[in-house]
Amino acid sequence: MRLSIPVILSLITLGCGAGEQDPPASDAGTSVADRTDEPASPEVRGETLEALSSGGMFIARITPLVDPMPMNEAFSVSLSLIDPESGAPFDAYDAVSIDARMPAHKHGMLRDVGLTPQEDGSMRADGLLLHMYGHWELHVDVQKGARFERAQVSVRLQY
């Protein structure tokens, strides 16, 4: 079982018996309507990483579907492409792919991680594997006609 920090803190509260009640929704800074936008069974998600592509064609938003990103265990991410000018989803491309590399070591995952379209317009990639501690770069490459652009985010896997 993997325990995130919030889960552990929840366990602390439970472990001490009756504590303070949850504040009413109106005091919690999050409306009920906002909450209904969440999936029925929200997945654990890490911090969204965002980068503008090399030529400004798109913004890539990568959200790990696990927190933190594990070392040497396969994991999944959600990928959204955004039009930088309109903020709308960017889908005017011919091909898109995601990969991960360690620039200092000149090696990567050696896996072709496919992208599966999701109902909300995002894409899901399964099977990413960061097998060493250190600095990794996640690349999102988009081809549109003869134009190729890359958006790149850095990740440091630490003990």
């Binding site: 602390i12 472990g15 594990p70 070392m71 050696l110 496919g114 099977g127 060493m132 003990y159």
Partner: protein, 445 residues
């Protein structure tokens, strides 16, 4: 493996204690270690032990079947499963030599091109052999049987050996049900399909390949079924070849339990070696996790046995072989063709950067395993440490290949400390019943 969970668990426990009222006694002072490890170092150390339970292998539904393991153990030591009747799996994977053979290059029917890797803790690897040409133990077990340099038999002959030996047949049928008699029709004794490059270069055993081609589809399928069952049984046996509980594991237990006696299991010399392993030498970069291997592939620029530049493509070719095999995790013989292992093999990419890469070996249970490296080119552990210290004789690498190593320039004392730490990774002894054919020993489990 997950970074940072244990400290948070520890912190959470502390917070619970604080929030729920004073503990009856104050927390014990942390146990003293010969080396003053920092909190971050302790966090790293805790991730390196104990050896976890074996990962499940859903591609083999017999993986944890005791009868299958016993049958597989019998096959493992059976020299009849070779072209000349004198070579078994145990010839190269000799239990008395750490499940290797003490030779630089394996010697079966002919001399091979690589050193025999150990089988200790082999089930903890996601890819098998030096180049990862198999993605399961059972797939790997099939390959040497028909490799003309190794055992050089055929799947047709394997079926015949099982069918003609009443005891072996009974053990087979107790696990897998009645042997498919369609496998025995005609004379398929020396029948096998062409292997990999043989297709282009001409088969090494042309008569066996012709005999295979002459069989009908039903008979070929029946033979393949028995062949795969044999592989899955050998895999079930190999899953038992696990040795943890090394002095290092007791040391880590001591850190967890604040037990000074257990912490004393690791000598001051070995503790300094551990600090070096995680620190300046950074061996842990590839030898990570409780099995001391990341399970992946690296090019460590080793001098070659033949001199000059490396010629072995390593993972570059291994990726091609496993992806194209009908026996991989995604194939029709897999018991989980849509599972995680199948996804892994479907996603494999054959990339030039994998050229000359070999799988990181586990550093547990190094006794009796010399020589080391994929060609056995380094005669002992001292030579291995010396190589990583000075990188003398390192072969050149192309600009597109991995660059992990740096010259460490270790002192004499540091080399001694590192050796002491590696010696502390020697696990407890395996059950003697696993180290000989089942007829000469107690059952495998």
């Amino acid at each position: 493996m997950r970074a940072g969970v244990l400290p948070w668990l520890a912190s959470a426990t502390l917070l619970i204690a604080v929030a729920c009222g004073p503990a009856p006694e104050g927390p014990a002072a942390p146990v003293e270690t010969a080396v003053p490890f920092s909190e971050a170092q302790v966090r790293r150390i805790l991730q390196m032990s104990p050896l976890p339970p074996l990962p499940a292998d859903p591609t083999n539904r017999f993986a944890d079947n005791a009868l299958a393991a016993r049958f597989g153990q019998a096959l493992f030591f059976d020299e009849r499963l070779s072209a000349d009747g004198e070579v078994s799996c145990a010839t190269c994977h000799d239990p008395k030599r750490g499940f290797t053979d003490g030779r630089q290059l394996a010697m079966g029917q002919q001399v091979g091109n690589r050193h025999t890797p150990t089988l200790w803790n082999v089930a903890h690897h996601r890819w098998l052999t030096w180049d990862g040409r198999a993605d399961s133990l059972w797939m790997q077990a099939l390959d040497p049987l028909e490799d003309t340099r190794e055992m050089g038999t055929t799947r047709g002959m394997l079926v015949r050996v099982i069918a003609d030996d009443p005891a072996l047949l009974a053990d087979y049928e107790a696990v897998f049900g009645p042997l498919n008699r369609a496998a025995l029709g005609g004379r398929p004794d020396d029948a096998r399909p062409a292997r990999g490059r043989e297709t282009a270069q001409g088969p090494a055993a042309p008569e066996a390949v012709q005999a295979w081609a002459a069989l009908d589809d039903a008979q070929r399928a029946a033979i393949d079924e028995v062949f795969v069952h044999a592989g899955k049984a050998i895999a079930a046996y190999q899953r038992l070849l696990v040795r943890g509980d090394a002095p290092f594991d007791r040391f880590v237990e001591g850190l967890r339990e604040n037990d000074a006696e257990k912490v004393g299991s690791l000598s001051p010399e070995a503790q300094r070696g551990l600090a070096l392993f995680m620190g300046r030498a950074n061996c842990v970069l590839c030898h990570s996790g409780p099995n001391f291997s990341d399970g992946e592939f690296h090019n460590n620029a080793l001098p070659t046995l033949h001199g000059g530049e490396a010629r072995d493509p390593g993972r570059f070719d291994g990726a091609r072989v496993v992806a194209g095999s009908p026996f991989n995790a995604a194939g029709s013989y897999s018991d989980d063709p849509d599972g995680p292992a199948a996804l892994r093999v479907r996603q494999l990419r054959q990339s030039s950067e994998a050229w000359g890469e070999f799988r990181t070996p586990s550093l547990r249970n190094l006794n009796h395993r010399k020589p080391f490296m994929h060609q056995g080119q380094l005669e002992d552990l001292a030579s291995v440490i010396e190589f990583y210290s000075e990188l003398e004789g390192a072969t050149g690498r192309g600009h597109h290949q991995e660059q992990v190593l740096v010259r460490l320039r270790l002192t004499v004392g540091e080399k001694r400390d590192l050796s002491a730490f590696l010696a502390a990774l020697e696990g407890s002894q395996a059950a003697p019943g696993l180290l000989a054919p089942p007829s000469q020993s107690a059952p495998g489990r």
